[in-house]
Amino acid sequence: MPEQLIFGMEVFLNGLMAGVLYALVALGFVLIYKASGIFNYAQGVMALFSALTLVGIMEGQVPFGHLINAIFGTEIHGFGWHVPAFAAILLTMGVMILLAVIVQKCVFRHLVGQEPIILFMATIGLAYFLEGVGDIMWGSEIKKLDVGLPQGINTLIDETTFGWFGYGFFIDNLDIVATVIAALLVTALVIFAQYTKQGRAMRAVADDHQAALSVGISLNFVWVMVWSVAGFVALVAGIMWGTKSGVQFSLSLIALKALPVLMLGGFTSIPGAIVGGLIIGVGEKLFEFAIGPMVGGATENWFAYVLALIFLVFRPQGLFGEKIIERV
């Protein structure tokens, strides 16, 4: 088999894996947009905030420790305990639910019926607020996140492909785990949306929140639930990306990777986020592999958007998005 084809296959597989990680971020956007029509600019910061909280809880860090020390002249740095990863994840989820309640009660409840652009602006404010709170609460140093996920080359794939092609493929164990988790997450979300009472309420609100209100569905509850689920998805994305790079403030920039995925997959489809992620991941990696060296490399960032734009020309609502027809 030609060497370039073998390399291309390796790049393709890694593109799929990268796409799953992009999709994890995009899912959070989809959930909130689907249920409330809000494009949540703060989704990347929510991933950061959840990862910061997770590490802080795991390491027994005192929230607002720097602030307390500065005001009271104390020397408090930590509780001195180490919380197991699973328990810390549960506690972090509790924090994200609390955040969802606060966001709903303090921000969006007062903005019901406002123009989408107003809601979008509110999420920008929320992003900056959360970033600041995260900084004061947990500090801005880079933190190592280790919840026990495997990292590094998968030797089984490496050796097997070496036996087949004389060249061992590199697949990161973390990417494999991310793929499995993403698959479980999407399945769970689809089951939740289709077969649970709360899920049906969410879909009803998404379809027509006035009609949903008229049949007794609590808008407030549904939106808190959706923000909580989005917080959970943000936590999963934060764990995956934070394990790769350490937990730091640039984690919020992962949202940049989700935008072309949303444009391509549609803002309202959970499967669309996954398929969009895979197409973007594979597309950008193969383009970088085949064309990148001819144009100086570093094509991935812009190519992802170009690819999404090409799809938009033919399907403005994205691959799986709902076609909106407004009659006047």
Binding site: F7, A18, A70, S140, G246, F249, L251, L253, K285, E288
Partner: protein, 427 residues
């Protein structure tokens, strides 16, 4: 730490206003945003050293040093705003800590007659003082760093790089592309194959780049990254089991922040440094006693001895020494920016000066002249020990390959002079 945010510090300083004779060293810092983890220790080190001088020595030559801080968030526009907001407070020197801000400030500081020190960043050809009268980049610049890396690999390869492959993995921007001309010239001189692989900002996803490296199997990798790009690159290198002995970052890719997230996988990773590492220097005992324990530290006091904190201390030390030499040369403690510039142009840092400051062998000995604003371009190689969780220098400070770098600096600065109609000075 967070309470002493830049805005508060600047606000307080501006409200109080500097006493006329105070020596003002504005700190254009970034404690917020994606690069905060790198900006905070530097800003802390810079402020703490001046606090030490004030608390222990009563200032510099009897004058209190003021360090008004202005938050740039590593953003060029904000950096320029900070410059405009602080320059009239009697600023003696600017250290903008960003190549982007540096490029914008070069014409401004020249017009305002305020010196700017861009230590290990900024425009490399500013070393030519004949063209860049108000910009200084001692003790080393990016091209010195590239040369130091190649010299180290040369030594590692037994004196010859003939037929070897060296890859530059770099931030896809002005900063990351800076060393390319030098490395191309060095490739020609030493007979190694050179290629550059760019990474787009922010660099959280580098799979393509590392698959390419895995396919091409370079013998050595030089790395010019910043921010999250650093942590991801080192993690990916560990993932593909690249030999960390052959992977070296420039000084902006060689702090504790960069290696700790990769854990044991980062063991053996190297970096070029233009100052020493660790906290085993007398000055840190004094900082602990007079600054941290006294509750006057700019931060939480937990960064003392880290690479970037040390860099902040070193930047402040070089500024303070220039101020002292300006006071001596002019016979007055109340110096202005013009006197400071002249002193920087005649600055000489010897082993005795560093020892007297509690910083023995903290940096290279060097001297500056009208034509040479960059010193001798000396740097050393540091290596990360993951089990000890510490960096240590594994070489002495050594000069770069001037035979390659000087012609490049002359050509680039001459082009800048022609473009901006600058008459060569130092005649």
């Amino acid at each position: 730490m967070k309470l002493k945010l830049a805005t508060l510090a600047l606000g307080a300083t501006m409200a109080a206003g500097p006493v006329m004779a105070d020596l003002v060293f504005p700190s254009l810092s970034y404690r917020t945003g994606p690069f905060a983890a790198g900006g905070i220790p530097f800003a802390d080190g810079y402020a703490d050293y001046f606090t030490l001088l004030n608390e222990r020595d009563g200032g510099i030559g009897g004058e209190i040093a003021q360090v008004p801080e202005c938050e740039t968030a590593y953003n060029t526009e904000k950096g320029v705003e900070c410059y405009e907001a602080t320059k009239d407070a009697g600023a003696l020197i600017y250290q903008p800590l960003s190549t982007g801000i540096t490029y914008q400030l070069i014409p401004k500081v020249t017009a305002d007659d305020i010196p700017m020190h861009t230590m290990g960043y900024g425009r490399t050809s500013a070393k030519n003082g004949k063209v860049f009268s108000h910009v200084f980049n001692y003790p080393a610049n990016y091209w010195d760093g590239a040369s130091a890396g190649v010299n180290h690999f040369l030594e590692q390869s037994g004196g010859s790089l003939e037929g070897k492959k060296i890859t530059l993995l770099h931030f896809n921007g002005a900063y990351g592309r800076e060393p390319i001309p030098t490395l191309e010239a060095l490739a020609e001189k030493h007979g190694f194959d050179f290629n550059a692989i760019p990474i787009d900002y922010p660099g959280q996803e580098q799979k393509s780049q590392w698959l390419q490296i895995r396919r091409e199997k370079p013998d050595y990798i030089l790395f010019w990254g910043w921010g999250v790009m650093n942590q991801v690159a080192i993690q990916e290198a560990a993932n593909i089991r690249y030999d960390m002995n052959n992977f070296m970052g420039i000084w902006w890719s060689g702090s504790e922040n960069d290696v700790k997230p990769a854990g044991d996988g980062a063991n053996g990773y190297k970096s070029v440094q233009f100052h020493n590492v660790g906290s085993d220097f007398p000055v840190f005992d004094d900082i602990q006693k007079y600054v941290v324990d006294a509750g006057k530290a700019a931060g939480a006091g937990d960064q003392v001895g880290s690479v970037l904190y040390n860099r902040g201390v070193y930047a402040a030390f070089l500024a303070a020494e220039a101020a002292k030499q300006a006071q001596d040369a002019n016979g007055t403690s109340a110096i202005d920016a013009s006197m400071m510039r002249d002193a920087m142009e005649n600055l000489s840092i010897t082993a005795d000066i560093m020892t007297a400051a509690g910083l023995p062998n903290f940096g290279p000995e060097f001297s500056v002249s009208c034509a040479n604003h960059g010193g001798d371009g000396m740097s050393a190689i540091a290596q990360w020990d993951a089990s000890a969780q510490s960096w240590s220098l594994i070489s002495d400070f050594a000069t770069s390959d001037a035979s390659v770098i000087t012609p490049l600096i002359d050509a680039d600065s001459a082009a800048y002079a022609a473009e901006n109609k600058i008459e060569m000075g130092c005649n």
